[in-house]
């Protein structure tokens, strides 16, 4: 499957999964699981930063349109799309790994731990920014912090399960690209 088709399918499936499955689950008022931003976590290395941000905005805006609450998810998605390259630069083990592999995964980032840090940081930032924007309108600080932490844990667990269920086969490409 080409990169374009793969990403379009991912976009649609993750949005539908998020809105029609996860949003119907009422775990607890503190916990809201999110998984749709996996689209951003899984975006190929070779997309340039402008494209990444525009796609992230589109993703967030689509979910916002479904929820009829414009801006919240778009803002959080744009933020993690902007930060993503910096985190990848810090975490990627050796020079050129981002051209040897197509997209971030446990294998391409040289182990489960760096990938976990990558996913965990982005999830935390996404949730934090999202709930902060929501909390500006209603809620208090403790509620916000607790909600961010708990939701991050649940979302990470879901991401982990998704990674196990849909293993992405990362081919090693020669670095002659």
């Amino acid at each position: 499957m080409s990169t374009l088709v793969k990403n379009i399918v991912r976009f649609a499936l993750l949005i539908l999964m998020q809105f029609f499955v996860l949003d119907k689950i009422h775990l607890h008022q503190m916990v809201t699981p999110y998984i749709y931003f996996l689209f951003i976590l899984w975006m190929p290395f070779k997309f340039n930063r402008t494209l990444q941000m525009v796609l992230a905005f589109a993703l967030g805006f689509t979910l916002d349109s479904f929820r009829h609450s414009p801006g919240f998810h778009a803002a959080a998605c744009v933020l993690i799309a902007y930060i993503r390259p910096f985190i990848i630069n810090v975490l990627i083990p050796q020079e050129g790994a981002d051209s040897n592999f197509e997209e971030p995964s446990a294998r391409s980032m040289g182990g489960i731990f760096p990938y976990l840090v990558y996913a965990g940081l982005l999830t935390l930032i996404h949730h934090g920014w999202l709930f902060l924007l929501e909390a500006l309108e209603f809620g208090n600080a403790w509620y916000f912090i607790l909600k961010t932490l708990l939701s991050t844990i649940i979302s990470l667990a879901l991401i982990f399960i998704t990674e196990l269920l849909f293993s992405r086969k990362q081919k090693f490409r020669t670095n002659t690209v």
């Binding site: 967030g60 349109s65 414009p70 801006g71 778009a74 744009v78």
Partner: protein, 287 residues
Amino acid sequence: MRNIFLFIRRYFNFLLFLLLQIYCIYLIINYNKYHQAVGSAYMNEITGRVNKQYNIVDNFLQLNKSNEALKKENEWLRNQLKSNFENPDTANQVITDSIPFDTLGNKRKWLYQAAKVVSNSVTTQNNFVVLNRGAGQQLRKDEGVIDPNNGVVGIITEVSENFAVVMSLLHKDSRISGILKNDPLGGGSIIWDGKEPNYLSFINVRKSARAKKGDTVLTSGITPTFPYGKMIGVIDQIYPDKSTNNFIIKIKSAANFYNLQYVYAIDNAQKDEINRLLEKAKSKINN
């Protein structure tokens, strides 16, 4: 000027990031004006369509639940019908607790009881329908059973604690009385010849009756089992019976016996009284 362009080019990503964030926050703050924002109507249209598709699936999955709710409501509504109450022709009434009254003092005669079909056959000579409601839920022997469209299904023959067996019209021994809707004097019996499901025979109809193809056959109401006017079927073909002076009419049943899901049993609250009276009359004759 050149420096400005260089600056923009150098920090393009950061500027784009800021721009998008500011736009998002603008959207959040101006939530109520969102409906005026460019493209929001278009997005609404798209998400609405996706929601509709999802709703179709969701509704399908909820079908059982909504059926259940509708069945309950129907049972309740049917019991409110005025035709279920009968006013005796006297001002002096003996009031007993066993028969409920409506607000005008009319005696209840017919009580509808919804039941779910758990087993049903059409292929054998003697077909039975099994209902998931029994004596523990106030079903009694000899109650008439109709489907949700008022089509006659059969008569309850056996009742256990939680289940009831209905002898369907598609049974060799089934025999109920029917009349023509257009000519109430043209009455006869409904039997099944055991050949074709959903097709019944209407026998002993006198030749003077005005019967046409497509006419409706109703229950007569002269037996204590069914109230008047429940639909039995529609006339399909009419033959003269050569040995007698009667018609044999082939009718297509109103109830579709192939997919019965919910039915209503009709309890005649006055049946016991009628039966007691009949017994009394018979014993008098025999003595």
